[in-house]
Symmetry: C2
Subunit: 136 residues, 2 copies
């Protein structure tokens, strides 16, 4: 697979793919006789994994550490597992952050809805004032 094919398949620019390889975020990709990258299925699986983890917000530094441990072999299994467990924890925390934010947005949005019923305005004016002008 050429770099442009991989680029299309995974929606990552060739520049980003080269960058990821350069910094060790994915293992080194083999070159053909001309010196062009020839991505294997294993390379693609790495790309998919890394893309997914990046979109969830895992830092590049953590992922490069994981990749280099992987390349050091079985002796690093425990360390690698610990990294994954820690990041899993972080994602769970981030899920809660998102849930909180969504709840707050819902509360604010429903306030904006209330103004669609002008006859109710008087009733809610006080709470609106609080909600709105205090930026709550």
């Amino acid at each position: 697979m050429t770099i442009s094919e991989v680029s299309k398949n995974y929606d990552l620019s060739p520049d980003t793919l080269r960058y990821y390889e350069r910094i060790g975020l994915i293992p080194r990709v083999e070159r053909d006789r001309r010196g062009n990258r020839d991505y294997s299925e294993a390379d693609c699986n790495w790309i998919q994994f890394i893309k997914c983890m990046r979109s969830a917000g895992l830092p590049i530094e953590t992922l490069t550490e994981y990749v280099s441990l992987f390349q050091l072999g079985d002796g690093t299994r425990l360390k690698r597992k610990e990294i994954l467990l820690k990041q899993r924890e972080r994602l769970l925390e981030q899920m809660e952050v998102l849930q909180t934010s969504i709840r707050i947005l819902d509360r604010k949005i429903s306030h904006y809805d209330e103004v669609l019923f002008p006859h109710e305005k008087e009733l809610t004016a006080a709470s609106l004032k609080n909600e709105d002008e205090l930026g709550a």
Copy 2:
């Protein structure tokens, strides 16, 4: 409330608080006779809201737009509501991204667990090879 009190209460550095005000991410804070910031309760509510939204990943640009619309008054209510609805959508999408990533991490982690039972190693060697060396 002084800037150092607010800084402690909301775990944002004074530099960050000044920066947020400078770029309009929070409305301008009043100064006392000496020229020092004196945060009102309304200011604190804005800070709390902005901090929450930033931690969920809303871009600063979007939030400054929201804040300036707010300062323009009631005529911008619809626009503001649309911004919040759009961001709510984005957060729901991000929740799904996180869920997917967590599922993938769980799968990988359970593979690392299997190696804790050496007598099972032979049985799972082939699938481990797949899971592991292909970076899946």
